[in-house]
Subunit: 256 residues, 2 copies
């Protein structure tokens, strides 16, 4: 039964999309059937795996707002076991369009219910906000993976995110777990990065993944070629870190 | 009459808050009366100038949703001519709370109307989205300052932002101008940064500021001390870049 993992953090630019794409790709090459759902109207996860959202007739917008099936939305990528559900800029308006719809937080959960048995892992790449789109993801997910950039502003937002997860657990999704906290753009050479790393490990303890993702320019270059980093340069530090992380995630999600 | 400048880009982590804080601080030390309005529920601009939002009874939330005056919200900072209007986490709900209110995009414009004559410059730090909060800022502003991180995903979102600015100009704020496009986290040593810089200058031409902001760790460290970078380390590359940018902005906004 597919594990549904929401990749969320309302702080912008912390590595949500980079993590969603590259963990999903790493699992796909390891043999797991994986779906990447792009919930962000910016569509970075869609273009980051080489899919042109403008060429698609149905997107995640149609699933959330029009109630259409994922079957009409999901499309292949260069990796055999990685599929993607593309986003659309119209998602910007979804929050207001759904305001009068009862059960508006459950739309994604219902739609995923029909397809989750076809995948081992489903990743939901969230936009940088705590609005209805992210609430849909947190309601549909079994667990949340939280990327945290090793900088001060990223640290500030963690309290707000933790409260939101607690709220969702109480009102919408009682079994929501934390898959893990992922330290991104780490830099052993600078003090700030070390301070933030220590602070995050102090707060979240064993929830923090052993694997951290160092700042590595290859990770920023790969999306301009429309490919996950392991297809762009598999020997890079960035690609190796995400392959390692994927193994750690599998160990955590299949633990006895 | 105060120039109202919205610092906007729906892409996360591109340097909106860092730019809003440090341009505002640079103008304040140059003798301009400056107000920084924190429109982001994350409250990074508030804490970045050393103000504790939890200690405040009135915030930007009360202005937008309850219609209270800015007088009750604005507070001083360490810099004599820099004031800040703190944000609040409740801003997350403002979009839904205002959905039935007519003229909901004009709330900020009306509130700023009463105080703008007291300042030479007013900066609006926006959250990473194109929802109602950013629409309020674009409706209230004379011009938009667009930080663009020199990376691929940041480039992708520019089209969407340009369309939104055009939409606001047609329906809500006919005189909205572009104050400038600011290249942030530039790195002369890497190809990607140079490619993105060339691409942005090709698209936006003279709108792109001459001054660019290099990646500089001091800019990321200053917020953890609750101070604009010029109070944390005025000789740093980051502080010098923003002082230079502030001068360029003044030249653009007071041009004959
Ligand atoms: N470990 C890394 N090393 C270097 N660059 C990185 C790394 N992770 C991400 N990046 C780059 O940093 C920028 C921000 O990352 P990304 O877009 O994945 O974050 P995000 O949290 O999804 O942003 P948003 O909040 O806008 O959705 C991108 O340009 C990306 O290519
Ligand atoms: N020129 C720079 N050099 C190094 N670090 C920078 C620079 N500009 C910003 N930063 C750091 O990068 C991170 C993102 O910047 P910032 O928070 O200002 O972006 P933002 O666009 O306001 O993000 P959000 O979309 O979450 O509001 C912060 O940790 C900040 O300290
Ligand atoms: Mg993203
Ligand atoms: Mg910000």
């Amino acid at each position: 039964m597919g594990h549904i993992i929401s990749v969320s953090n309302q702080k912008g630019g912390v590595g949500k999309t980079t993590s969603a794409i590259n963990i999903a790709a790493s699992l796909a090459v390891a043999g797991y059937r994986t779906l990447l759902v792009d919930m962000d109207p910016q569509g970075n996860a869609t273009s980051g795996v080489g899919v042109d959202a403008r060429a698609r007739t149905h997107t995640v917008y149609d699933v959330l707002v029009r109630g259409c099936d994922f079957d009409a939305v999901v499309c292949p990528t260069e990796l055999e076991r990685l599929s993607v559900a593309p986003s659309h800029v119209d998602l910007v308006g979804a929050e207001v369009e759904l305001v009068t719809v009862s059960g508006r937080e459950q739309r994604l959960k219902q739609a995923l219910g029909q397809i989750r048995s076809r995948y081992d892992y489903i990743f939901l790449d969230c936009p940088p906000s705590l609005g209805l789109i992210t609430l849909n993801a947190l309601t549909a997910a079994d667990a949340v993976l939280v990327p945290v950039q090793c900088e001060y502003f990223a640290l500030e937002g963690l309290g707000q995110l933790a409260r939101t997860i607690e709220l969702v657990r109480r009102q919408l999704n009682p079994t929501l777990d934390i898959a893990g906290v992922l330290l991104t753009m780490t830099d052993r050479r600078n003090n700030l990065s070390r301070q933030v790393t220590d602070e995050v490990r102090r707060h979240f303890g064993a929830k923090v993944f052993e694997t951290t993702i160092p700042r590595n320019i290859t990770l920023a270059e790969a999306p301009s070629h429309g490919r996950p980093v392991l297809l762009y340069n598999v020997t890079s530090i960035g690609a190796q870190a995400y392959l390692e992380l994927a193994q750690e995630l599998v160990a955590r999600t299949t633990a006895p």
